[in-house]
């Protein structure tokens, strides 16, 4: 990282180098620049696919808004045509339509025997009530339809992300995925609600258009010229904002990611005295974001005000062309006056459209991100024709010529060995030799192409990954403790684990001692990542969790690394019974942890170096022998050469 990025005004060109650290993680394939070019209609169509289960509700809702908007048009007509023209002045201008309101009022007055003015008042009150009830019903039904479809969308998105494999999360920061599920879906709410209102706005538009055409086709055509002009300007605006919106989106997600990572690693930040520096990095991104946001404000305000005000130009057009036509006696003066009255109805939707456009564009950016996430299809290969496993498996494992590498690095080379049913195999080897990788492949966290693993003579790749993971329980080296109660953490939502079973599992790993000492025992609430427990206590929980699930094959990847010897011995006693007749793999650096193993496999640089019983390997005097010597050698041998 260079100092350059500390200076807010230095806009970096060599992006790849100067981007703040948090931007580095996302590999480009997962965040291919969103250009906003793809047809928005496609996105809209895709959004509507979530709306379709709520189609009926949405349709009713749209009908409601159409009706309500129609009544809303009637209200001013009632006042001008019925109250003023008819009742007070006593003459009706025939040119102006009254939508049968006069008849209605007269009818009301005759059947109730009321004064016309009172009848009009009642009519007005009723219509208002009806109008706003309909609007209210529309909003509520529409909101319901949309909230429910967005709820479904969010759930689908979450489910989709839940099933992405580890290889995916190796590359993509959690923060990025998270904001898509939370904020981006939220952004669509505004968009869709706006669209609903928009439908309503077009009712007066069409009524006005209809009347205006009836009055004067030519003058109406003049006004309609406005539409292509607006379309053109909108296109222009879109071009101009595309880059800005993209930059905003990028900076916002950088901000969020930076914040998230800093919150997660706050203790390290504080202990390294990096607060000031990190703040300045954040400030720089924030500054950039502000710059683009302000650009967006300029553009949006310009465009919004233009759309908003230019419509008033229509009045000048009417006056000029209409007035000219009046002078030439082409149309009547009354028509021109009518036009000036209706033009507002005609213009309103365009105005609203103009205001909605910003929302639309911003929301489209969110839609794009959501669909991009939904289109991340990376997953481990699931078998087309899954092999059927028996109720209880024997638990034989065979690795045959397995080679594997992560993206750039080869980790395992031609690994072959067999674990017999009920056998306990210890895997030892220097750090980074590929032990955990072996386990990850066994758990089908990554796809592998070279070599095969057989579970009871079934190719592992022919078994669905969830099935594999149910059979094989792994105490992960980097386990995760969730917020929630201790019990929740042991049961992990698995309905087949009862409270008793969970407590038993805790007892097996000797976690019951510390848990019962807690004021609330098993119901003690843990915070995020179990920060209110000691590291060893957390590990005990992670261990208990796997035992509670009662898997048929048990794998312990450094499951007691942070646990003291005394506790470990207690656990080992308990495990003896559990592991009897249960195929197990034990990975450990501390050799006393694996004292119970039947055979030992030594993995070094991704190759099987030694395999045999403890005695065989000690006799062999190879890697294992050396490790033993080192671990149990006497203090008198000074390790500092």
């Amino acid at each position: 990282m260079s100092e350059a990025q500390l200076e807010p005004n230095k806009d970096n060109n060599e992006k790849s180098q100067n981007e703040p650290n948090n931007a580095k993680l996302d590999h480009s394939i997962f965040d291919a620049d969103i250009h906003g070019q793809s047809a928005n209609m496609v996105y809209l169509a895709r959004i509507f696919s979530w709306l379709s289960p709520h189609k009926k509700l949405a349709t009713v809702s749209v009908l409601l808004v159409v009706t309500a908007s129609f009544i809303a048009v009637l209200l001013p007509v009632l006042i001008s045509r019925v109250v003023v023209d008819n009742i007070i002045i006593g003459e009706a201008d025939l040119l102006m339509p009254d939508f049968g309101l006069n008849t209605l009022m007269t009818w009301l007055a005759t059947i109730t025997g009321l004064d016309p003015i009172i009848a009009a008042c009642i009519l007005y009150g009723l219509l208002t009530l009806l109008c706003h009830s309909f609007y209210h019903l529309h909003r509520v039904t529409f909101a319901k339809a949309i909230l429910h479809s967005l709820r479904d969308m969010r759930l689908d998105l979450f489910r989709h992300m839940e099933y992405r494999p580890s290889s995916f999360y190796d590359k993509v920061a959690v923060g990025r995925v998270m904001t898509r599920i939370t904020n981006d879906v939220q952004a669509l709410f505004e968009l869709l609600m706006g669209l609903g209102m928009l439908v309503g706005e077009f009712v007066p538009f069409f009524i006005a258009l209809f009347i205006m055409f009836a009055i004067d086709v030519k003058l109406t055509m003049y006004l309609l010229i406005a539409i292509p002009i607006f379309a053109f300007i909108t296109y222009f605006f879109r071009m101009a904002t595309r880059r800005v919106y993209r930059m905003i989106r990028n900076t916002v997600s950088q901000l969020n990611q930076n914040l998230q990572e800093n919150l997660s690693g706050m203790q390290v930040v504080q202990l390294s005295n990096r607060e000031r520096k990190n703040l300045s990095v954040y400030r720089v991104i924030n500054q950039k974001n502000q710059k683009h946001e302000i650009e967006a404000i300029y553009l949006e305000t310009g465009y919004g005000a233009f759309m908003d005000n230019m419509v008033n130009m229509a009045l000048a057009v009417i006056l000029w062309f209409g007035g000219g036509a009046v002078i030439q006696d082409a149309i009547s003066l009354g028509s021109v006056i009518l036009f000036t009255q209706f033009v507002d109805m005609f213009i309103r939707p365009i105005r609203v459209l103009g205001m909605q456009y910003n929302v639309l564009f911003r929301a489209m950016a969110s839609a794009e991100r959501i669909f991009q996430a939904l289109d991340w299809h990376e997953q481990v290969r699931e078998p087309v024709k899954p092999a059927k496993l028996p109720e209880r498996i024997a638990g034989k494992l065979e690795f045959r010529h397995l080679s594997f590498g992560y993206e750039e690095q080869d980790v395992l080379h031609d690994v072959s060995f067999t674990i017999n049913p009920g056998e306990k195999l210890a895997v030892v080897g220097p750090t980074g030799s590929g032990k955990s990788t072996l386990i990850r492949l066994l758990g089908r966290f990554y796809d592998f192409d070279n070599g095969t693993i057989f579970l009871d003579d079934n190719d592992l790749n022919s078994i669905p990954s969830s099935e594999v993971r149910k059979r094989i329980g792994v105490v992960l080296q980097d386990f995760h403790i969730f917020s929630g109660s201790i019990l929740d953490n042991i049961m992990l939502g698995n309905p087949s684990i009862t409270r008793e079973k969970a407590i038993d599992a805790a007892r097996l790993v000797n976690a019951d001692k510390f848990i019962e000492a807690l004021p609330k025992g098993y119901d003690t609430l843990l915070v995020e990542r179990g920060q209110n427990l000691s590291q060893g206590e957390r590990q005990l929980l992670a261990f208990a969790r796997v035992l509670a699930a009662d898997p048929e094959i048990l794998i312990l990847d450094e499951a007691t690394a942070s646990i003291d010897t005394e506790t470990e011995q207690v656990i080992q006693q308990a495990l003896k019974q559990i592991m009897q007749d249960r195929t197990s793999i034990l990975i450990a650096h501390r050799l006393q942890t694996i004292a119970e193993a039947d055979r030992v496999l030594v993995l070094k640089n991704g190759r099987v170096k030694e395999l045999g019983t403890h005695e065989e390997l000690m006799a062999h005097r190879g890697v294992y022998y050396t490790l033993n010597q080192l671990q149990f050698q006497d203090i008198s041998i000074n390790p500092a050469e």
């Binding site: 709820r151 839940e162 999360y169 220097p430 966290f445 450094e558 006799a619 149990f632």
Partner: protein, 594 residues
């Protein structure tokens, strides 16, 4: 609502731009109001023209031309003024958001572990993203809209008063009811917005935690259950949103419906007045158009109240964080000596909040410069708690720690942490390059220094194996490294600082014995004459130390050198026996084999 006053400084900072912006918007409305006047003028002159003039006469043309041009000018002026003033106001919202983001970021950096146990990261993120944008909306949008609406209403009322006092007063009759309803609803909206925002926090928290633990979830094949749990949170959020929405929509419907009473009053009462000759027909008609000026604001009360209340609740949530006093007080003392590494712990006790048992009880010991101290103890015996007290991640409940005879709470925090380096038990790495992770405290470090500490942490071979060496970019939290690699990277990050007091919290648990021996000898080399304290579960590690401290249930039960403690025959001796028992057992096997 009162909480919104806390946003005042952000407006005050740009008070001129704000005042200009708001007044500009009012001016723009005046321009807008002028347009109908010119239309009337044009139509009037048309009527005259029709009456007497030649249709092609220039006089008529001009009668049309002037009003039309005037309208165009009004529109353009209105547009320009609107643009300038809107930009002025909207920018203030952005500045506030910018400043609040920095402020909250900085404030979070001051918080200790207690705070982060209280607020989850997902929650904090939701506040920093969502609530700030709500605040921005209030400053940039609601203030503007409210001023315009008030202005419009006042203008409308002014005109109405000038036309007819009686009628205006009659029109105002429904006003008290409207205010009461609006007030009632606004309270409800505030509470419901709060729930929605909390629901959003819950959602964020859930997603963020779940994704962080995705590997665990998948390993336990619990994806489906998690999705179901998410469905609940998600449903709750949708429900709360709908509840809020029904309330706001109801308010939006009630306001104009109640206001319709005003219209009905004009119709009924006005018509009576007209027929009684108290007002003219013209006044009556004009009244309707001005009523429109009054009704528009009333119709907007609903959405506006919602915006204000959501902003208020967002503001409250932000200031809840910003008002949180850091647990650790910082004393910016003037001079700070370079420490020799002498440590004295006096009657040190610590008790976690909401626990009755002490995690540490009356710990007393001293460490001379250059000594290496090992700390042993069972799981949960208080080792990490003790170590965290040294860097003031926690504040002791009782007693104190002295460095070179100065109590540590007298030191400025950054200086203290500069010289006392704690490597945490749970290695956290950033999604950054390996090299930057090692030189995290100071990015300007020479690569020599980095390599030196990598050597001491037995990391050189590993790094050289990576195709990109020190430039290798790590996954989030270092997920692309093996357990031991992560731990050693974190260790190297601590070693590179060469601080007078280095504290290692169980930093060898994930490395094999051979590597550990390597590291320990490396440590001896680079930390000659510097004080080191380390926690371990292994006797093979502890025996390298000059002295060993054994903790049990928060109390110091043994202290002495390896041999002393073996002779004493306590916890340590038992441990040694237990750990070498296995080895002896193995050795027995071995000898019997040969």
């Amino acid at each position: 609502m009162k909480v919104l006053l806390r946003l005042m400084p952000y407006i005050r900072a740009h008070i001129w731009a704000f005042s200009f912006g708001i007044s500009g918007l009012l001016v723009a409305r005046i321009f807008e109001a002028m347009i109908p006047m010119y239309i009337k003028m044009g139509i009037d002159s048309l009527t005259e023209g029709k009456a007497g003039f030649d249709f092609t006469s220039t006089v008529t043309q001009q009668a049309l031309f002037y009003p039309a041009i005037a309208i165009v000018i009004c529109v353009i002026l209105q547009m320009l003024v609107t643009i300038v003033s809107r930009i002025l106001v909207r920018r203030i919202g952005m500045y506030a958001a910018f400043d609040l983001r920095n402020r909250i970021y900085h404030h979070l950096q001051l918080q200790g572990p207690g705070f982060f146990q209280q607020y989850s990261i997902g929650d904090l993120m939701a506040r920093a993203i969502n609530d700030i944008s709500l605040v921005r909306q209030v400053i940039a949008g609601s203030t503007r809209m409210t001023s315009v609406l008030i202005f419009t209403a006042v203008v409308g009322l002014g005109f109405m008063f000038s036309l007819s006092l009686q009628l205006t007063l009659a029109v105002l009759l429904p006003l008290p009811i409207i205010s009461i309803v609006a007030y009632r609803y606004s309270k409800k909206i505030y509470d419901q917005s709060h729930l929605v925002q909390e629901g959003f926090s819950d959602l964020s928290t859930f997603v963020q935690e779940n994704l962080n633990g995705i590997r665990t979830v998948q390993a336990m094949a619990q994806e489906n259950e998690e999705v179901e749990r998410f469905a609940d949170v998600n449903q709750q959020f949708a429900d709360r949103n709908l509840e809020l929405f029904v309330t706001t929509s109801m308010l939006s419907a009630l306001m104009p419906t109640l206001a319709a009473a005003a219209t009905i009053i004009i119709i009924g009462y006005g018509a009576t007045l007209v027929s009684a000759g108290d007002i003219t027909l013209g006044t009556f008609v004009a009244f309707f158009s001005y009523l429109g000026l009054l009704l528009w604001p009333v119709r907007e009360i609903g959405p506006l109240v919602t915006q204000w209340q959501r902003g208020a609740s967002g503001t409250a949530r932000l200031f809840e964080i910003l008002d949180h006093k850091p647990e650790i007080s910082n004393h910016p003392a003037t001079d700070f000596p370079k420490l020799t590494g002498r440590v004295e712990v006096k009657d040190l006790s610590y008790r976690f909040e909401n626990k009755d048992k002490f995690a540490l009880k009356d710990i007393n010991f001293t460490v001379e410069p250059g000594e290496t101290i090992a700390i042993l103890g069972r799981v949960g015996s208080g080792k990490s708690t003790l170590l965290r007290l040294f860097v003031r991640l926690l504040e002791p409940t009782n007693g104190q720690i002295l460095l070179d005879n100065h109590p540590i709470d007298g030191f400025p925090l950054d200086k203290l942490r500069d010289q006392v380096c704690l490597v945490l038990q749970d290695p956290f790495l950033f999604a950054d390059s390996l090299g930057d992770n090692i030189a995290y405290d100071n990015t300007d470090r020479e690569s020599d220094e980095i390599w030196k500490s990598a050597d001491a942490a037995a990391l050189r071979d590993t790094i050289e194996d990576f195709p990109e060496g020190l430039k290798t970019i790590l996954g989030e939290r270092g997920v692309t490294l093996s357990g031991g690699q992560k731990q050693r990277t974190a260790l190297a990050r601590g070693l590179v600082r060469m601080s007078p007091l280095l504290i290692l919290d169980d930093c060898f648990s994930a490395v094999d014995t051979q590597t550990e021996e390597h590291i320990l000898s490396g440590l001896k080399r680079v930390r000659q004459n510097l004080t080191t304290m380390l926690v371990s579960h292994r006797v093979s590690t502890a025996r390298h130390a000059d002295r060993i401290i054994v903790l049990s249930e928060g109390e110091m039960v043994e202290m002495g050198s390896h041999t002393e403690l073996l002779e004493k025959g306590g916890f340590y001796a038992d441990l040694e026996k237990a750990q070498s028992n296995t080895s002896r057992l193995l050795e027995d096997l071995e000898t019997s084999d040969e």
